[in-house]
Amino acid sequence: MSDRLPSGVTYRTIEGSDRLVTEGPPVYGEPTSEGWRAWDVRRSKLGAMFERGMDTGLEGGETVLYLGAAAGTTVSHVADFAGPTYAVEFAARPVADLLEVAAERPNLFVLLEDARSPSEYAHVVEPVDVIVQDVATRDQAQVANANRQFLSDDGRLLAVVKARSEDVTADPETVFDRFLDRLEGYSVLETERLDPFHDDHLAVIATPE
């Protein structure tokens, strides 16, 4: 399982339990030990993907475009092990916190932009190895499609689909199928439900076709 972890992400014993960790300044009150910060997989879907042993293809040091960064819980860990990390978030309130996270991470670049309008940040973001998407909004497939242009040919899309964001009444499976149907220009490598860490969430790993 650990052989699938990128370098810079590992397991360590913190406060008596084995925790997924990265190395960097703490962000959300997570326990730390000798510079390693526990990655709370219940608060982070990407963390849950690692915990589940999904093959993210990440090796460490990649250039990353992160869509839906919120206050930076997950993207802070990403910036700890990745290279240049572009964090897009369109709500101002969480960005105020995200700026503090980025102040301590010179490789984390905050963009207060709408992930549905990539041309508004294409003059800043370079082609990337990985897109992490966790936007929890309607039209999640459209967001992935619109941002495909940033992904290098052998890059990866690591997307999390939240069923309730698309349609509160529909059955989650239906919503997930619809997302996969609408995904254009990608071939899907792996999908997995993230329950019980995150109810009604599907993790999708894809690569450009």
Partner: protein, 322 residues
């Protein structure tokens, strides 16, 4: 910021226009080429490294049709010498831009809070008015109640059985009216909680010194945080006492010593002969707090210590006047 972007655009068009004279015959061709070129320029093409004022417009107002290897391009075009300086510049630029954008958005947050505090006052006032009606009405029943708590009590009781058709019908309306009172009162509480939660973000220092609700009230009376930040402390001291102030200016009555800041314990808790001094000291610090909140936005705990000390001096020696 918009203007800034447009200036750049004009400069750029001028630059292209010179080449157009030499190379192309048709303005249409020139325009097409210009539009095309404009879309593949990186954000850095309009910044001067070391001049943070140029960063915000470059990131916020720029756009491109597609991404490109911006780090290499910036080095090729001589903006930065190497990759690490590129990322350093990008970091400074994105931090400055997002910070400015967040602050700009937060500007409208004060207007939302103004609606919250006015709605809180409205719901409290109407709840009280209707509660009076409920009280008067309930005195015609076997179980008279009084006030908003009375309306709550009335709801918690099981309805009395009666054969009197009129009593049954009107009691039903009375209970329904009591429900409205309770739900308005709950809404007032929820509005207060929202104000208490939001004020520390919108105006951290004002919220710290005045308390969230009084702070929001001052913002509402001034018409916004920016407007409040521009008021002299003497005006802040009497905000909410406009009627008394106008009467005084018209030659009737004395000049008011305080407006809504009276509810602050540092004013109401000071003995009457010293209240004017306490109100003046408090208003002075609130004016500074509002300015820091509007122009800087960071929390300055020292303000609280300074105010505490000043008020202690006034209250103990009674020589607060300068």
């Amino acid at each position: 910021m918009v203007n800034y972007g447009m200036n750049l655009c004009v400069l750029y068009i001028c630059g292209r226009a010179i080449r157009f004279e030499n190379t192309f015959g048709s303005p249409v061709v020139w325009w097409a080429m210009n539009a095309d070129r404009g879309s593949d320029r990186g954000w850095f093409s309009s910044v001067s490294p070391g001049d943070p004022e140029t960063y915000v417009g470059a990131i916020a107002d720029g756009s491109a049709n597609e991404p490109a290897d911006w780090p290499s391009r910036s080095i090729e075009s001589g903006v930065v010498p190497d990759q690490s300086s590129y990322y350093e510049l990008l970091h400074a630029a994105t931090q400055a831009t997002a910070r400015a954008q967040v602050r700009r958005r937060e500007r409208t947050d004060d207007q939302r809070l103004i609606h919250c505090i006015r709605a809180m006052d409205d719901t409290e006032r109407v709840a009280n008015e209707l509660a009076e009606r409920v009280s008067a009405w309930s005195s015609t029943t076997d179980t008279p109640v009084s006030g908003i708590d009375g309306a709550r009590e009335l709801l918690s009781r099981s309805p009395t059985q009666t054969d009197d058709a009129i009593a049954a019908a009107t009691d039903e309306r009375l209970v329904s009216l009591a429900e409205q009172v309770v739900s308005l009162d709950d809404e007032a509480t929820a509005l207060r909680e929202t104000i208490e939660k939001s004020m520390p973000t919108v105006a951290p220092n004002l919220s710290m010194l005045a308390g969230p609700v009084l702070g929001a009230r001052l913002i509402a009376l001034a018409g916004g945080l920016e407007a409040l930040a521009k008021q002299p402390s003497g005006t802040i001291q009497v905000l909410g006492a406009e009627d008394a102030l106008f009467a005084h200016l018209a030659g009737r009555g004395s000049s008011p010593k305080h407006g809504v800041i009276f509810v602050h314990e540092y004013v109401s808790g000071t003995e009457p002969s010293l209240r004017g001094s306490a109100a003046r000291a408090l208003a002075g610090k609130l004016a500074i707090a509002a300015r820091i909140d509007h122009y800087a936005g960071d929390r300055r705990p020292s303000l609280q210590a300074e105010l505490d000390e000043r008020i202690a001096t006034i209250q103990s020696r009674g020589d607060g006047d300068e």
